[in-house]
């Protein structure tokens, strides 16, 4: 038998003082709001900045002083060569975290909340990317500042550095879409990390990040020469040294455009149909 309903005293507390419906926010506004969310998460979970601050420091110091003498005869000379490479490697690695964040959102139910809102559909992803550009810039700043302290002196000065970082950020923003896509597909963040490291380790090491490919066996050299990371490193190096030619820049722009053209529609398609 049902118990009698005890009707609470204040049944009609009014939650809704207004029926106001503000106008729909612009795509830019909703993307910026979601970027703000990503920044808030950094504020609440500052440990996640470890990857963009401590890892670059460790890598730069390690590679410069462990291998510099052996590879280039002196650590000072090697630093000039390896710093742009480490810069690319570190920032490329950080792109994984955009996908990890997406994967966590899906699992925690925030994802469905956002999907149920009448906002510009890609704003969740674009917002995360805007915040990630901040992380890319932060990691770049850490590496460059430390590099300059250690004696890194690029010939093309500040302008070269800015152009190089701009190109790097552009490429990495396009690359992120792969991990966001996989973040929607894969069941756990751990498996996503495993897959992305499996892709990025060979790509970053089998490139010209640490050494020029001339001494490698022919098969590896030809892989290194078609590796987009190699092209990116070359472009970043030459922009910093002031010797960049259009032939060194356009492959990077082309690769970025291709990544974006393939993975952003694919990701948005999946975003709409995720079950």
């Amino acid at each position: 038998m049902q118990t009698t309903c005890e009707r609470p005293h204040q049944t009609e507390r009014r939650v809704l003082p207004t029926r106001a419906r503000p106008a729909r926010p612009s795509p830019l506004s909703s993307a910026i709001t979601l970027a703000w969310r990503a920044l808030l998460k950094i504020k609440h979970v500052p440990e996640q900045l470890f990857d963009v601050t401590a890892s670059p420091v460790i890598f730069l110091l390690m590679f410069t002083y462990l291998f510099g003498g052996a590879l280039a005869g002196s650590t000072a000379i090697y630093l000039q060569f390896v710093l742009p490479g480490i810069l690319v490697m570190m920032v490329v690695m950080i792109t994984i975290y955009t996908g990890v964040g997406m994967n966590q959102d899906v699992k925690k139910g925030v994802f469905d909340r956002f999907r149920s809102l009448p906002v510009w559909r890609p704003s969740v992803i674009v917002g995360a990317l805007i915040a990630d550009v901040g992380r890319y810039l932060m990691a770049s700043a850490v590496i460059l500042l430390l590099g300059v302290m250690l004696g890194f002196r690029p010939e093309n000065g500040v302008l070269g550095i800015l152009l190089a970082v701009l190109l790097l950020v552009l490429f990495c923003s396009a690359l992120s879409w792969i991990w966001i896509f996989l973040g929607l597909v894969m069941r756990t963040a751990e498996s996503l990390m495993a897959v992305s490291f499996m892709v990025l380790f060979p790509l970053t090491f089998a490139s010209n990040v640490f050494v020029q490919p001339e001494t490698m066996p022919a098969w590896l050299e030809s892989f290194v020469n078609i590796n987009p990371i190699t092209h990116l490193v070359t472009a970043v190096r030459t922009l910093m040294s002031g010797t960049a030619t259009a032939d060194q820049i356009w492959p990077v722009l082309l690769a970025s455009a291709a990544l974006l053209a393939v993975f952003s529609p694919l990701t948005m398609w999946l975003y709409g149909r995720k079950q």
């Binding site: 038998m1 049902q2 118990t3 309903c5 005890e6 609470p8 204040q10 049944t11 009609e12 507390r13 009014r14 939650v15 809704l16 003082p17 207004t18 029926r19 106001a20 419906r21 503000p22 106008a23 729909r24 926010p25 506004s29 909703s30 709001t33 979601l34 703000w36 969310r37 808030l40 998460k41 609440h44 979970v45 925690k108 139910g109 925030v110 469905d112 909340r113 956002f114 999907r115 149920s116 809102l117 009448p118 906002v119 704003s123 149909r273 079950q275």
Partner: protein, 323 residues
Amino acid sequence: MNAQSPAVETSGLVKLFGSTRAVDNVDLFVPSGTVFGFLGPNGAGKTTAIRILATLLRPDRGTAKVFGHDVVREADKVRWRVGLTGQFASVDEDLTGLENLVLLARLRGYSWSDAKGRASELLEFFDLADAGRRQVKTYSGGMRRRIDIAASLVVTPDLLFLDEPTTGLDPRNRNQIWDIVRGLAADGITVFLTTQYLDEADQLADRIAVINHGRIIAEGTSGELKARVGSGTLHVRLVNPDARPEAERVLEQQLGVRVQLEYDPLELSSRISSPEVATQALVHLAQAGITVGSYSYGQPSLDEVFLTLTGHPVDGETELEQS
């Protein structure tokens, strides 16, 4: 606002997950301004149906309209008018309650200052003002449910989906949520509520649909559902639990009725057609020397309705209370 359109109208809705028919040929009709209860055990398809109606899932067959807008072709118009609360559509645990509400208010087009105003207003209303600056992951179960509901009221929706709003809550928090739902209904919001608590649907909903294995097995007001079972029920509470098997045997033999043993080892119940037969039953028990502590005869509860409709009791921990 097209006030004429029903809040929800589906026809032949089907959603398959592999070979499982999570939602199987569901027709629903929810008039605007009512509270609709969607009742069923775990895994019956309630959440899947809500996810379709809230544009998060595409149906494999059939159509679903919310205020006359197709949930697939006019998803954005639907999103404009519904609010969604459930374990699957929640808030960001890493953020504070205030930040979550400001975020959602911004996404619904409020300016930064209006968003803060609306967020504070909602926190105040849901007794979360003190917790507003704490991360949501530190909230208790009841607070968590309230912030989830607040999140879907940033802009007052015309239709609010509440997916199992009181599952896992203690009675005090449950009553608080019921109170909120009644308040929303009084404000004219259509509420589409899923629950596995029969009691909850009975308490809150104007109309109830019972779903099991993806199919609607009954629909109507709580009274209509009870009437469908067609007979009353005699509940008997014994003094000695050891006497229960004997009591069960006596009733089955003397009256030819099916006896249901309740969770409480002292209780048993039986569907009995009239008060006269119920009296006879008590006489038979007395003659067999079985002491009856208390008894009642009345309309069947929704639990019994479910049993009648599906042929088996609701599985698992679904009963909030049995008295």
